[in-house]
Symmetry: C2
Subunit: 274 residues, 2 copies
């Protein structure tokens, strides 16, 4: 089953556009887990078990594991998700951006070592920084397109003089991902939730690719506006929420609180479909 | 000692602009090491010991370690370099590109976990993807600017309509790194060796920052043209060669062959100084 098939099935089965982002920070862990980097797996596995029936995808952010020497725990977590939530695709958020044999190594890391269904990538080095991932049959790759951090406009918001209509750089990336770069049909785009008009613009330029949309919840994006801007019956969106779900409670009820937060976010997203 | 101080000292002491890139691929290992991912540390340590007196820096590429579950070996290698080559700065080639608390995690990974002196970064997400690294006192950060892979022009070679003179995107990045983004004075730029005219252009726009220049040797860049284009008495360049050095021999004499290749490349670079 390809990444996109798996995504469609999870969306259908769980009635959800919500992706739970797994950004484990031991300092924020609840109760007895607090500050204990050896419990990253335990914390994340509890969140996964509590929310697996409510999500379209999980998105572990590899930086949080790398900072704590927790690669083995990430492997264990990936295995846990395959076993306990086999219908939910896993997007490894790594934003890799390199070429040639180096990119091949990163693809091996993401797809073979960790067994991810998809990965996030930076397009700055051009198509050769994307191509090595497309050789992995059925695996997805999300290119950074329009991020809604304050500096997101520094490069992405520049207009390109040499292309007809002088599109923004992020619009150019959207077109490339929808068209010439999408060799295996498994490309997607990362578009921040803060400015729904930009999601709408990306959707216009890339009418069918999946959009991974971080920034709903703790980062302030509006769930309803996000769905209206990006979701189409034949074009999936994956709306990520990390902190608002996984740190919904700082007590021992954190998994139940995460479930409750995930359910209400999922329901809000579903209700926003036109 | 800051990264730049360490770089200046190594350049002086070793009379070298050469950086040896540590891209360990077990399939290419010589003799008895061939195919054995558990010998990544052994292979790299031998290269380090053979070339430490000939280089301005070492540059381990983290992807090769990550693909082989070799983070512990990378830690061991970093420790080995600090002990056996304390005067040589280490640039962790990771091309990270993320923001906020995620970027902070990557900075912890690079500077605290691995103890690198500098790291490579992608500027695609703008200044907030650079700022978290600058908080680490005295540590260096090299931004991808102009890469000489075939797809390097896809984004970097676009002219920006909204900026006076319609610079290329890579020229814009060069200006940002020389000026407004260079808060701690430790920023550098990554510029491929294939097109010396572009190195010269970047040096014009960024007259003092260090340039990390991959692509000499196996990737075909011309050492002499590279030095003439980028080196200035008060502006360092770090000319990286990986495969041409570390795989100079596929026999048991690989360390001696690496030393010989490093010496001749170093000498060629030195001789090219005007």
């Amino acid at each position: 089953m390809t990444f996109l098939d798996k995504l469609a099935t999870a969306q259908q089965t769980n009635g959800s556009l919500l992706c739970v982002g797994l950004d484990p920070e031991p300092a924020k862990f609840p109760g007895q887990l607090k500050g204990d980097a050896s419990r990253i797996y335990d914390f994340c596995a509890r969140i996964v078990d509590a929310t697996a029936g409510l999500v379209i995808a999980f998105k572990p952010q590899i930086a949080y594991f790398a900072a704590h020497r927790a690669e083995a725990q990430l492997e264990q977590l990936m295995e846990h998700m395959r076993r306990n939530a086999p219908g939910v695709p896993v997007i490894l958020d790594a934003k890799r951006g390199d070429i040639g044999s180096t990119a091949e190594q990163y693809a091996i890391e993401a797809f073979e070592r960790y067994g991810a269904d998809a990965v996030t990538l930076s397009p700055f080095m051009g198509f050769d920084s994307v191509a090595p991932y497309l050789k992995h049959q059925g695996k997805g790759a999300f290119l950074l397109c329009r991020t809604s951090n304050p500096g997101g406009s520094d490069l992405q918001g520049q207009r390109l003089a040499g292309i007809e209509g002088q599109p923004f750089l992020y619009e150019h990336v959207a077109r490339l991902a929808q068209g010439p770069w999408n060799l295996n049909g498994q490309l997607g785009l990362v578009v921040g939730a803060t400015y729904p008009a930009e999601i709408e613009r990306v959707r216009e330029l890339a009418p069918t690719v999946p959009l991974l949309i971080p920034g709903v919840g703790a980062q302030g994006g509006d769930a309803v506006a996000t769905v209206r801007a990006g979701w189409r019956p034949d074009a999936p969106i994956i709306v990520n929420s990390s902190r608002a779900i996984i740190y919904a409670s700082s007590g021992d009820d954190f998994a139940e609180a995460a479930q409750k937060a995930a359910r209400s976010t999922r329901d809000a997203l579903e209700a926003a479909k036109p």
